[in-house]
């Protein structure tokens, strides 16, 4: 068994607002191991980004209520004083974001921004910090790294900026890298390169990676474990192969069958009808029930308890296991038939 680097238990994030309480994340739990990629997938507003920002202590404490536990190196990240959390941030846990065009400061040289990440946690000379910055730019595949370090972000392409962000995240050999939609803003060809790079540095630096995305294709390529979120809750959680081959939750079925692939043309995609609920007023019972075509008596009343299959595959759905399997095979067969 690999070493556990991060254990999240019952993470709940609430934003009190004038219009009511926004229940952004409810009772989220997962375990991240060294060398593992955990893919968190869900629609916009499903709480996937917020849950990670909460771990990083990047949500405004004055306007957020966070409960639960996030154990990292024996400490609960959620209750650490902000100074201690700052020491961990960027050093032991690093994060990269969605839009590399907006994430680098437009007025500072790329190299300087990476050097700043070095000196934020280590007392080193400028020359040493610069050496480290160039070394990492080189490691993430920026050609002529020493020269390019003197460039400003606007002289970099989107892919190069995301590489620079990754270099910045790696300066202190973090144990955990959180990548929040790292490829969403990039060209498809560049997407693959960045995913490959994340996978490579994960192995080289022996990190645990949390990959947040709405794109199941991205998850399929890189994740070992998948967590499907809906309305702030984990609906399904398990090994990636399991989730893709035998998904248990109607929401996961919807996600999988609405994903275009090379074999699936637009007309055979099955969209999930309706739209995600307002987080101020989450539906009672199973939050997915208003959009679920298989809902029955208990769904609007009772939140399904997580059920674990022997292979570690967890889901929250009232349908009996055999019925779920039968429905999924029928749905897949239907889609294949339409495809032919």
């Amino acid at each position: 068994m690999r070493e556990t680097v991060l254990e999240v238990q019952g993470l709940t994030v609430v934003f009190p607002t004038h219009g009511g309480e926004v229940q952004a994340v409810s009772d989220l739990s997962y375990v991240l191991h060294r060398g593992e990629t955990l893919g968190i997938v869900g629609e916009s507003g499903s709480g996937k980004s917020v849950s990670s920002l909460a771990l990083m202590g990047l949500l405004n404490p004055a306007r957020t209520r966070i409960s639960g536990q996030a154990l990292f190196g024996g400490r609960n990240l959620l209750t650490l004083p902000s100074n201690t959390m700052r020491d961990i941030r960027g050093k032991d846990i690093a994060m990269i974001f969605q839009d590399p065009f907006a994430c680098l400061h437009p007025m500072y040289r790329v190299g300087d921004q990476i050097m700043e990440a070095v000196t934020a946690h280590a007392k080193v000379s400028n020359a040493q910090a610069e050496k480290r910055a160039v070394e990492l730019l080189d490691a993430v595949g920026i050609p002529r790294a020493k020269d390019r370090a003197r460039d400003y972000p606007h002289q970099f392409s989107g892919g190069m900026r995301q590489r620079a962000m990754i270099a910045m995240a790696l300066v202190h050999n973090p144990s955990v890298l959180i990548a929040d939609e790292p490829t969403t803003a990039l060209d498809v060809t560049v997407q693959a390169q960045i995913l490959e790079l994340i996978d490579r540095v994960k192995r080289e630096f022996d990190m645990g990676v949390i990959l947040i995305t709405h794109d199941l294709g991205v998850i399929a390529e890189t994740a070992d474990t998948v967590l499907v979120m809906y309305a702030g809750r984990a609906m399904e959680h398990g090994p990636a192969r399991e989730i893709f081959d035998a998904p248990q939750h109607p929401y996961a079925w919807g996600l999988l069958q609405s994903m275009p692939t090379i074999e699936r043309r637009l007309e055979i995609l099955v969209p999930i009808e309706g739209s995600p609920p307002s987080l101020v007023d989450i539906p009672s019972g199973c939050p997915f029930h208003p959009r679920c075509e298989y809902q029955f008596a208990p769904c609007p009343i009772e939140l399904p308890e997580p059920r674990t299959l022997p292979n570690g595959h967890v889901d929250r759905c009232h349908l009996p296991d055999e019925q779920k399997r039968a429905i999924w095979f029928a749905r897949r067969a239907e889609q294949l038939k339409v495809a032919q």
């Binding site: 700052r86 960027g90 974001f97 907006a102 680098l104 437009p106 007025m107 934020a120 910045m168």
Partner: protein, 321 residues
């Protein structure tokens, strides 16, 4: 970078020439009475008027006059460079008047600008960082008071309280710094503060808004995610990116004040350029007014140039545009 500055300098020269043309038009094409008549004194004879017309070049067609005007401005006249002509009233050189008055106004602006930038930006930063707290509300209260207080009232109140009642400062009038530095400061501190209040208030509000906008940017989140101390995030990352609109405003405000600190100068009897402009206007002394206008115009052009160059230093994206 050098090329950029050279290009801006060439443009600045063109702008100065255009201002010169407009100034000339105001002076010669829309004259308030016959300049020669005003120049000649109480009982002019036709001979003296003709002499004056010849001396001022008023007997020439307008383009000749413009040529002379430009030539005098560029090459200087008998009073030195740049040639601004003679005052109709006192028959002294306008250049000499400007040279005597300008340091007063410039020192007034310099001191006030220092105060308003330091105070205004600090209040703005504090108020943005402590948004929606008591500090923020007090700061925005000050801003409202600062913006709504008329300068003449503020000046008179300041004089009354700090000079007459408390005796803490010097009164009205101007003491050259070379003569008595302590008295200079004691006389300037009130005008500096009074002039600075309005600007400090606007700058505080602008800094607050600009900083709040910047604090929502993704690169601020990146800076925090790096684990930088909040102070570094605010000053080094957010404030730096929020400076552009402040620098722009600063350049324009300073430039406009060169010819326009009139109320402050009047209340405190500083007799700087603003006072000179008023005096010239009241006496229909066109060359004097034009002298001040030219100084003001050149100040606007120069400050614009300074702002443009500062921009290029502040934001690397401008340099290659």
């Amino acid at each position: 970078m050098l090329l950029y500055i050279v290009r801006r300098l060439l443009w600045a020269t063109v702008v100065v020439l255009i201002v010169l043309l407009l100034t000339f038009a105001v002076f010669f094409l829309l004259p308030a009475g016959d300049p020669a008549l005003r120049f000649a004194g109480k009982s002019p004879t036709p001979e003296s008027l003709a002499l004056i017309r010849e001396r001022l070049g008023l007997d020439q067609p307008w383009y000749e006059q413009f040529g002379l005007f430009v030539k005098n401005f560029v090459a200087g006249d008998e009073y030195g460079w740049p040639g601004l002509g003679y005052s109709y009233n006192s028959n002294v050189s306008v250049l000499g008047e400007v040279q005597e008055r300008a340091p007063r106004t410039l020192l007034l602006i310099a001191g006030a600008a220092f105060i308003w930038v330091v105070v205004g930006v600090s209040i703005g930063v504090l108020s943005a960082v402590k948004r929606r707290t008591l500090v923020d509300r007090l700061a925005m209260g000050f801003v409202l008071v600062g913006i709504s207080s008329p300068v003449f009232w503020l000046g008179l109140m300041a004089l009354f309280i700090f000079w007459r009642q408390l005796g803490l400062t010097g009164g009205t009038g101007y003491v050259p710094i070379t003569e008595d530095p302590i008295s200079f400061f004691s006389h300037m501190i009130l005008p500096w503060c009074v002039l600075a209040v309005l600007f400090a208030a606007t700058y505080a509000r602008m800094t607050r808004n600009s900083l709040l906008e910047t604090l929502g940017e993704d690169y601020i989140r990146t800076a925090r995610a790096k684990g930088l101390p909040e102070r570094t995030v605010i000053i080094h990352h957010a404030l730096r990116a929020s400076l552009a609109p402040i620098v722009t405003m600063f350049g324009l405000d300073v430039a406009l004040l060169v010819g326009g600190a009139i109320i402050t100068e009047s209340v405190f009897n500083i007799q700087g350029l603003g006072w000179l402009a008023i005096d010239g206007t009241l006496n229909q002394d066109l060359p004097t007014v034009l002298g001040v206008v030219m100084v003001g115009a050149v100040a606007v052009v120069i400050m614009n140039l300074v702002v443009d160059i500062a921009y290029a230093f502040l934001d690397p994206r401008v340099r290659y545009a």
